[in-house]
Structures are given as structure tokens and as C-alpha cells.
């Protein structure tokens, strides 16, 4: 059996010793998981290595860790694949040699011991923030609520979340703004917004749009989509929340999130590339009194843009867009004519040849009848 080198981040808060990396070797087949490797070490070498784990089948969500710098479940990451991963530029220099597997606790959450983080302090607190229970109107019916079948399939993707914390760990927005409600909790929020039995749809959307750390705090970095082991695609759920907030309820939030998104889309459509000066201006809507004030407040941001060369006087005054603009427009046309929800439970994954044409269009405002 081949040997694999595991480099594990150890930390025992009782010892007074700061966190450190420790090298281990495990002897296992390459198709076995990183968790199998850690458990072998715990069983044979050092019983004190701390990691939460239970089902070993990617359903309980206990063993979220960072492997080679990226959040994953240790139980569904194969040793051979982890060892073969190229060393990422973003990993701190000198930590990982090619062929090694680094395992460290998830990010954005305080470490309790070794690979165990405090999920309550961050993840569950954020989940509670979105009022995570169904709020139907009035008394329940005698029998079941009657709802369109596709709505239940639609929210199943959000229900598939196992609260492993991988998306929270690698969320870049949360790294900058720890108060950001975050990908997992917002996906949970969509589970209620998308559920026609819930009677607080507008209130939920208004709340999440007006919160400065709400749905407009996401920067589309796709990290959560990439690291989610269950295909929940939290960012997609956040975008659904935005669409519902704007298209169905026309919520003009105090954070200018809707205006910013609209300005962004229009600028790209027109120029094929971002015009930062115009983006700032259009996002705030300078012709509204409060917009002007907000624009003034954003002046330092604009000046920083100048200082770093993101905005140049030439670009600010004579922004001309890119060549091949007609192709950008074609993308827009295509997108506007194909407004279907991409849902794992309907379409399968990329590469699955599930009959895409059979996918039902998801009703944006499904009627509920009791």
C-alpha cells in the first residue's frame, strides 16, 4: 500500500504552545479518504488528534476541514487526489511541498482544538439570524398544504445543506466583513423564501436586503459554490433571494444593493467592461438627495481607486468599452431568453445528460392553497 504524507495543524489550547504543523505518514490505498488517514493515525499513533467525524459518508457534515488550503469534508476527499493537487499560490510559502496533504481547521471560525472549530460562535449564530423556521399564515389545514410539486424540488437543493461550514470557512466576504450573514445561512433563508407555505416572504426579503450585511454583501466570488460538498450552490441561492427581492417585491434597499447590481449589469451590457467611475455614480443615484450624500461619503473609495490605478482620469472621462461588444450583447440576449433556474435536483450536475429540456420552469410566485 502506498504511503501518504499528511501535514496536520495541531493546537492544544491547554498546552500553552502556539499552533504548529506536524508531519505524519499513513499507509492506505489512494481511494481511501483523508479522514481514513487521520483516523488511522488516531488509532495507531496518537489518540489525541482532534477532529469531529461521524458518518464517513458526507451526510452528517461533521468533518469540515481545510485540505491543501481549501475547505472540504475529510471523508469524501480521496488521499490520492489530495496528494496530486498542485500547490496553490495562495498557500503560505513553504507550508506544502508537492505530494503532501495539508489538513488544517476551517477558516472564519475560532479553533477549539486541532481541527475542531467553534461552529456555534459563527455558523449557527448566523443561521439563527435568518429566523430559520417556517412561518405559515394562520392555523395549518386539516390535511397537507397543497403546493406546486416543483416548488418542493426547488427548495430541496437548499435543504440538502448539511451545515458542514465549508462555505462559511472559505467565504471571502466574511473574511472582510465578519458580520456578513454568509452563504450557508442565506441558503437556509432561501429554503423559506422559496417555500410557498411560508407567509413571511416579503418580510424575510426586506429584512435580508436592508441588512448591511445581508444579500448584497456577497461579491460573487464563487468560493462557496466551489467548496460545497453537497451541490447546494449557496451563491445561487443568494442570487435567487436578490431576484425575488427585486423582481417580485421591487425592494430598493438602503444599501443601494439593487441600484449597484442594476448599474453593474447595464455598464457591462453597454461597454463590455466595468467603468468604475460610472459604477459608483449610478449605484448611488446622484440625483436622489440621499444618493448625493452617499456618493460624497464614498469619495475616499473613489480616491483609493485613483491611487491604485483602477480609475484613471483618461478612463474616467473617455471610457470607450471593449472590442467585440456584439458578443457581449449576444450573451445578454441569450441569458434574457433563457431565464430558468439551475437546480441540481432537476438538471443533475454539469456533465450529467439529464434531459435539460424537460426541466420545468420554476414559478417565481407560486400560489399556495390550504
Amino acid at each position: 500500500m502506498p504511503d501518504y504524507k499528511l501535514k496536520i495543524r495541531r493546537h492544544d489550547p491547554e498546552s500553552g504552545i502556539p499552533p504548529y504543523w506536524k508531519d505524519y505518514t499513513v499507509e492506505l490505498d489512494g481511494h481511501r479518504s483523508v479522514l481514513d488517514g487521520i483516523l488511522q493515525l488516531r488509532d495507531r499513533v496518537d489518540g489525541s488528534i482532534g477532529i469531529r467525524c461521524s458518518c464517513q459518508a458526507a451526510i452528517c457534515g461533521s468533518c469540515g476541514v481545510r485540505i491543501n488550503g481549501q475547505a472540504k469534508l475529510a471523508c469524501n476527499t480521496k488521499l490520492s487526489e489530495a496528494a496530486a493537487e498542485p500547490v496553490r499560490v495562495s498557500q503560505r510559502a513553504g507550508i506544502r511541498e508537492p505530494g503532501e496533504i495539508t489538513v488544517e481547521p476551517m477558516g472564519n471560525m475560532p479553533v477549539l482544538k486541532d481541527l475542531i472549530v467553534n461552529m456555534d460562535a459563527v455558523h449557527w449564530k448566523k443561521v439563527r439570524r435568518v429566523v430559520p423556521w417556517l412561518l405559515p399564515a394562520g392555523e395549518p389545514p386539516e390535511r397537507e398544504y397543497v403546493v406546486p410539486p416543483e416548488t418542493m424540488i426547488d427548495v430541496t437543493q437548499a435543504m440538502a445543506c448539511i451545515h458542514c461550514g465549508a462555505c462559511v470557512s472559505d467565504c471571502l466576504s466574511m473574511e472582510v466583513d465578519p458580520l456578513f450573514i454568509g452563504p450557508a445561512a442565506l441558503a437556509k433563508a432561501y429554503r423559506f423564501v422559496g417555500d410557498p407555505r411560508d407567509a413571511q416572504t416579503e418580510e424575510r426579503l426586506r429584512d435580508l436586503a436592508e441588512d448591511p450585511h445581508g444579500i448584497y454583501d456577497c461579491t460573487h466570488c464563487f468560493n462557496c459554490v466551489q467548496v460545497c460538498p453537497k451541490g447546494v450552490a449557496p451563491m445561487d441561492q443568494i442570487m435567487r433571494l436578490r431576484r425575488r427581492a427585486t423582481r417580485d417585491y421591487e425592494i430598493n434597499d438602503q444599501n443601494n444593493g439593487r441600484r449597484h447590481e442594476h448599474a453593474f449589469t447595464k455598464i457591462i451590457q453597454k461597454k463590455g467592461i466595468l467603468d468604475e467611475r460610472k459604477l459608483l455614480q449610478d449605484s448611488f443615484g446622484p440625483f436622489r438627495p440621499e444618493g448625493g450624500i452617499q456618493l460624497l461619503r464614498a469619495l475616499p473609495t473613489g480616491l483609493r481607486g485613483f491611487a491604485r490605478g483602477k480609475i484613471t482620469p483618461r478612463k474616467a472621462l473617455f471610457h470607450e468599452g471593449i472590442e467585440g461588444l456584439e458578443n457581449v450583447r449576444r450573451i445578454y440576449d441569450h441569458a434574457e431568453n433563457h431565464a430558468e433556474e439551475v437546480n441540481l435536483y432537476i438538471l443533475g450536475e454539469e456533465g450529467d445528460d439529464a434531459a435539460q429540456d424537460e426541466a420545468p420552469a420554476i414559478g417565481e410566485s407560486p400560489e399556495v392553497t390550504a
Binding site: D43, Q56, C60, K113, P140, E144, V147
Partner: protein, 555 residues
């Protein structure tokens, strides 16, 4: 409440609703509980044209007539109400074209009456119950607290539990008028198993140690479709959706064993059929047969079997939408457990049990698919309500604090013990698991079972000198692993003794040396109680029969 899976959370909510002050203690965060793994669904006769009697008969027949029919009646009659309650709380059950609750077919059932959420039914229900726990903040949650033992008051009533806060190692004596165990099964006694690492029989063992009888402990379910090697589960929903089983010769072998129900015969029947094919040389070289899901339309697989697409891809390297997957019978569930009445009461006053750790007995010799979720919910709710009523009508007789300091000393000596020549916890655990899977699986006989019991007896001795590496207080999982092994050894011993004792074949308990069912002698439960010398003592209790007399079982 000890345990926060479906039974525990359901019991906590119903006790709180009845006005009790409730604390719920769980060694893992509630959403990590193994109820998550229940993929297929929940059985209920909800449609007007369906009847609870038909459901009850399926369950009685599935149990090989060892199930108590009064309890089965309660479970099947209360199922529709329980299902609707879940739906009203927010479970996103699959709908039919009319927007009503839709069903799928399941094993051993005479009609399609299994309600489901894709193939994450257990997870969906578990998460919705947790939503309700977050909403009902009056239920105190002790998440990541490990229970080390139950305590009795001077009159022999269960009056609380001793726990260790996993995060800081502090110990606490919880005092309560009623204690409900909902700690799940003990599949980790077997290797491989579909069960999670946390399924170590904690509650079964703790109840046994304070004198509660265990019942039907020999009845261990081997699920027909698990992956070879790691034992991961492929839901019965796959066969419910139409998947077929083939041997290595390409024969759809269930024709021989269950010509009417084919792949949807009850689990004991299908597992025995597979094992017979494998034993007689018609399996694949890796000791498996094939499950062909490709006959299910791809769109349906994506919508209804998403999770096992993942399991196939991630853990077997197989795309189940394109090719058959190799499977074999694997340890899955214990029908037995702490003996209770229909309100969850054990024979120790004040102590209740619900869910997999309990034996009411609704599953008898073999549990039907999609009956475990139902069991947890119906009897979880009933236990919670009854325990609340008991608590309201009595004054707490607090257990002695001395018990806490004694327990602290016991754990302290384990943590600080020198290894000396003692074996590692993992070695003992692996030997235990391999022993039970070898001798106490689909086919059993006296020689094998006695061999296994000798090994387990030796392992119990060796357990006395087991030592651990971790001397810390924060997340000392090493210590917890050692305590769990102690629980597992109790479960293994009582299972083997019961299996040796039952000299007939019934349900999941098939004795090659006694291949027939013997109603004259064995239409009764085997109870095991810890006697004064610390040895297991066997007694019997009758099977309750209401309207279905035992008859030959054919599918």
C-alpha cells in the same frame, strides 16, 4: 432527553409542549445525529383508500410475527397524524402532480405508501425538528455533552444522568424526574456497518447497567444494499423506484426467492437471498451482487435519488445512472434494544427509551424499510408526553452528589492510566467489529456464536487495562472512544447471548443449525437483564397478538 436525533428531538418538543422543563443532551450537535442517514422515507397509510390495518399487517408479517401487535397498531394508526404534523412544521415532502403528498414503493409493503424528500428524508426531517428546537428556546440544549451513566435515587427510580461537557471536560449531574434515552443504535459493534461512528449503543448499555431489561437483542438487520468494504448505504428507495438485483451470471435471482415481491421483499429475505447467491459462487469476486439502477429514468434519479448518485461517485467510483453498482448485505439496524411499553417506559421507573435504542417492539424479527423514522417520531412523541406527565405529578427525589464524584474518579483513573501492556482502544474495537460481522451476520450457528462470545468475553477483560493517549480536558475524544467501547461490549455480549439462546430461525436471526421458525417454542421475546453478579440473565416475555395469527411468510 439524552440523544438529539429524530426520537430525541421529537420527544423534547412534545414534553415541552406538555409544559415540562426540558433539557436535551447530545454527544454531537443535533444535526449530526445518525437519523440523517435515513434516506428512503416514512411509511403512513394516509390516502383514504389505504388503511392502517393493511400497514399494520405488513409490519407484523415483516417482523416475522415477533412484533407486538398492540404497539404496531398504535404506530400505524398514529402515522398519518404524525406525517401531517411534520408537513405543517415545514418538511418539504415530495408532491404529486396535484400538489398533494406523493408516495414511492418500499420493501415488504402491499401498497406505495412511503412519503419522502428525495433521498434525504431523514436529514430533511431532522433539520426541520432542529428548526423547531431553535424556535422553542425554552428547551435547554446541551450540544456536545457526553453521557457517562444514569443514576438512581434511593428508591431505585431513575433520577438523572452524569455527563461530561466535551468542550471543557467538566462533569455535571443532571437531576430529573424523567429521563428519556434516544441514543440510537449500536451498529459500530459490527465492521463494516452502515452506521456512523457515533452509533455505539450508549443508551442501551447505560440502561442495562442500571437494571433495565434489554429485549430482542439478537435481531440485527443486515441491509441488502451496502457497498463492499466501507459498508455505505444505498437506499431501498432505489429498488422502490424500480432497480433490479443481478448475480454474476446476469440472473435476476430474486425470482427464485420471492417471485411476487421480487426486489421488494422484506430486507431479511433479500439479504439472505443475496448471501446465498454469494456463498454458492454466483456472486462477483469481491463477494457482491449487482444493483442495477440504470433501469430508472435518469430524470427520476436526479430528482429522487440524488444522494446515492453522490455516494456511488464519491465512494465507489461508479456512475449509478450508467452502470450497475456492486453491493452486499451489511449491518444496518438493531430491532432490539431497551424494553419499553407503548409509552416508552422501561422497567426502571422514571426511565424511558425511544427510537432505535428502544424495543417496543414494533419491528420484531425484521424492520420494514421506512418504519424506523416512523418509530422514532411516534414513540418519541409518546415518550415525551408521558415523561412530562410523570414529571408534573411528582416531586424530584434528588440523587446523591456522591455519584458525581465517584464518576469523576472513574474517568480520571481511565485518563491517567499507564498503558503498560494494554491494547489500544482501536485494536479492541476492530476485533469486536470483525468478530460480530463474521459470526453474527445473515447466517449464524451455535459454533460461530459461541466462538464470538468467547472472543467478546476476552475483549471485556482486555478492556479493563485499556489506556489512552490524550490526558487533556478539551475535546478528549480519546477518552470518549474508550467509554464508547465499553458500551459496545455490553451490547455485543447481550446480542450474542440472545442469539445463542434462540434455537430457531425467525426474521433476521437465521440459524443454519435450526433453519425453521418454531412458533411452539419461540413465539416469545428474549429479555436480558444484568443480574447481581454482573452477568447477563435471560428471561422471556410474551408476544402480544391482537388480530393476526402467525402464518407462513412468503413474498
Amino acid at each position: 432527553m439524552i440523544g438529539a436525533g429524530l426520537a430525541g428531538q421529537r420527544a423534547a418538543l412534545s414534553a415541552a409542549q406538555a409544559g415540562a422543563s426540558v433539557g436535551i443532551i447530545s454527544k454531537v450537535h443535533p444535526v449530526r445525529s445518525h437519523s440523517n442517514a435515513a434516506q428512503g422515507g416514512i411509511n403512513a397509510a394516509l390516502n383514504p383508500e389505504d388503511s392502517w390495518e393493511s400497514r399494520a399487517f405488513d409490519t407484523v408479517k415483516g417482523s416475522d410475527y415477533l412484533g407486538d401487535q398492540d404497539a404496531i397498531e398504535i404506530m400505524t394508526r398514529e402515522a398519518p397524524e404524525e406525517l401531517l404534523h411534520l408537513e405543517h412544521m415545514g418538511v418539504t415532502f415530495h408532491r404529486n402532480e396535484e400538489g398533494l403528498l406523493g408516495t414511492r414503493a418500499f420493501g415488504g409493503a402491499s401498497a406505495a405508501r412511503t412519503y419522502y424528500v428525495a433521498d434525504i428524508t431523514g436529514q430533511a426531517i431532522l433539520h426541520v425538528l432542529y428548526e423547531q428546537l431553535m424556535k422553542h428556546d425554552e428547551v435547554y440544549r446541551y450540544e456536545e455533552w457526553f453521557t457517562t451513566g444514569l443514576v438512581l435515587d434511593e428508591s431505585g427510580h431513575c433520577a438523572g444522568a452524569i455527563t461530561r461537557d466535551i468542550r471543557d471536560g467538566s462533569m455535571e449531574l443532571f437531576k430529573a424526574q424523567s429521563v428519556i434515552l434516544a441514543t440510537g443504535g449500536n451498529g459500530q459493534c459490527f465492521k463494516p456497518t452502515t452506521n456512523a461512528l457515533i452509533c455505539t449503543g450508549d443508551g442501551i448499555s447505560m440502561a442495562y447497567r442500571i437494571g433495565a431489561p434489554l429485549m430482542d437483542m439478537e435481531m440485527i438487520q443486515y441491509h441488502p444494499t451496502t457497498l463492499a468494504g466501507n459498508g455505505l448505504l444505498i437506499t431501498e428507495g432505489a429498488r422502490g423506484e424500480g432497480a433490479h438485483l443481478y448475480n454474476a451470471l446476469g440472473e435476476r435471482f430474486m425470482e427464485k426467492y420471492a417471485p411476487n415481491k421480487m426486489e421488494l421483499a422484506s430486507r431479511d429475505v433479500v439479504s439472505r437471498a443475496e448471501q446465498t447467491e454469494i456463498n454458492e459462487g454466483r456472486g462477483f469476486p469481491d463477494g457482491t451482487v449487482a444493483l442495477d439502477i440504470t433501469v430508472v429514468p435518469r430524470k427520476r434519479i436526479h430528482e429522487a435519488l440524488r444522494e446515492i448518485v453522490n455516494v456511488g461517485r464519491d465512494f465507489a467510483g461508479v456512475d449509478i445512472t450508467r452502470e450497475p453498482i456492486h453491493i452486499k448485505p451489511g449491518n444496518h439496524y438493531i430491532m432490539g434494544g431497551v424494553k419499553t411499553d407503548v409509552n416508552g417506559q422501561t422497567e426502571v421507573p422514571g426511565l424511558y427509551a425511544a427510537g432505535e435504542c428502544a424495543c417496543v417492539s414494533v419491528h420484531g424479527g425484521n424492520r420494514l424499510g421506512a418504519n424506523s423514522l416512523l418509530d422514532t417520531l411516534v414513540f418519541g412523541r409518546r415518550s415525551g408526553a408521558h415523561a412530562a406527565e410523570r414529571a408534573a405529578n411528582m416531586v424530584l427525589n434528588p440523587p446523591s452528589e456522591v455519584l458525581l464524584s465517584e464518576e469523576e474518579r472513574r474517568l480520571g483513573s481511565l485518563v491517567n492510566r499507564d498503558r503498560g501492556t494494554g491494547r489500544r482502544v482501536a485494536e479492541l474495537r476492530n476485533e469486536l467489529g470483525e468478530t460480530l460481522d463474521r459470526y453474527c451476520a445473515v447466517f449464524r450457528d451455535a459454533v460461530g456464536l459461541n466462538t464470538a462470545l468467547e472472543i467478546v468475553t476476552r475483549l471485556k477483560e482486555e478492556y479493563g487495562s485499556v489506556a489512552i493517549d490524550d490526558r487533556g480536558t478539551i475535546f478528549n475524544q480519546d477518552l470518549l472512544g474508550a467509554l464508547e467501547l465499553g458500551y459496545m461490549l455490553d451490547c455485543a455480549e447481550t446480542t450474542l447471548i440472545s442469539a445463542i439462546h434462540r434455537t430457531e430461525s425467525r426474521g433476521a436471526h437465521f440459524r443454519t443449525d435450526f433453519p425453521e421458525r418454531n412458533d411452539d417454542e419461540w413465539l416469545k421475546h428474549i429479555d436480558v437483564t444484568l443480574d447481581g453478579d454482573g452477568k447477563p440473565h435471560i428471561s422471556y416475555s410474551p408476544v402480544t397478538i391482537t388480530q393476526w395469527q402467525p402464518e407462513e411468510r412468503k413474498y
